[in-house]
Amino acid sequence: MIPVKRYRKVRQTICFRIYFSLVLILMVPSAQTAPITFNTALPVAKGEFLIRQQFISVQSGDDPGPTDRDRTAVTSTTALVYGVNHKLALFGILPYQDIELSLNPGTGKLSRTNSGLGDVKLFGRYIFKQNNQQGRTLRWAGFAGFKAPTGDEDARDSLGTLPPPVQTGTGSWDAFGGLVFTRQTLDWQLDAQLGYQTNTEANQYEAGDIFRFDASFQKRVWPRELSVGVPGFLYGVLEMNLIHQGKNKFNGVYDPHSNGTRLLLAPGIQYVTRRWIAEASLQLPIIQDLNGSALELGHILRAGMRFNF
């Protein structure tokens, strides 16, 4: 018989591991044409707005530990982008989450759920180098911003306060930044991004910092020959995400069973018109080098629309 206090602590620790190993994956890309899973360096016209709506379903399972954990999170993210000028764009991203965590600690299966607004992300992106030619462009940009604790971090259900993996907010102010590169032609596009997020402490908990490298290649598959005017483009997309997160800290002590390194591959499809884009991708883990019994990622399904208005 496990003491109730210890049982709760174990359950909470498990939940911490699951949650923060997945937070980084939900970093939302920009609202422009280009990659589905991360940002781009393409411009936003001065004084103009773009909006992006994306639905992200993250499934984790195959628990290496004894508690048979399974987590599903469906997130609807709304991103609004404003062009301050042709080099500087401001981004605001608001997620709405619906989360379910089930586990069996040995006393029967438990399921805990929660939904609500998550933590807002605000950041700016500045294009510091560009080279335009007919039908092609090359751009480098830097971005920096922060995540504000606007989501709920102390939601409760009938069993008490929900553990962090089921909370819609983290409670911490976290800064992030990086570099992004884009090479776009009429036939194909290549994007790459290097990013870092430093996580701060909240409620005696500090998630590990996140480093990520992303790359995307898009090839126009239709129309095969361009006609005059502005036809819609159908792209085949292949993206890669290399994500490393350091160990979490709880009360100043590192959790040896948290986070690690993941390599994801994401085939996708994107239809681009003048005023809107429809897209979908499936991110699959190719390599997961995780610490201890950190929970493995199953897959991430993304579908969304972007509007130029």
């Binding site: 411009p43 936003v44 030619q133 007919q134 092609r136 596009q189 005059v228 502005v230 681009v272 003048r274």
Partner: protein, 98 residues
């Protein structure tokens, strides 16, 4: 093929232009245009400018054709600035009266 497409596009634009009252037609060679979504950025930037009647874009040839209302005149620098504000580069410009 490329030249033929360009000729057809310009002829179509000119034909449409005759049905409007006299104004100017500016043909801009714009660099950096490489996808439809980006093209709309420059289109809406120009369309929101006073005196611009219509904007036609030929992505393949990097051509932006701006038709203005009667009496509205743009300098090359003004158009260059509008194109730059949209995030692109204007390489050259030709002007015709209709």
């Amino acid at each position: 093929m490329k030249f033929k497409s360009l000729v057809v596009f310009i002829m179509a634009v000119l034909w449409v232009s005759y049905s409007f009252a006299a104004g100017s037609i500016y043909s801009l060679r714009v660099d950096g245009l490489a996808c439809p979504f980006c093209a709309y950025g420059i289109e809406k930037k120009l369309k929101r400018t006073e005196g611009v009647e219509s904007v036609d874009i030929d992505l393949k040839n990097g051509l932006v054709v701006v038709r203005t209302t009667a009496g509205r005149v743009f300098t090359e620098d003004q158009l260059r600035q509008l194109v730059e504000d949209a995030g692109f580069s204007m390489k050259s410009m030709t002007e015709a009266t209709r």
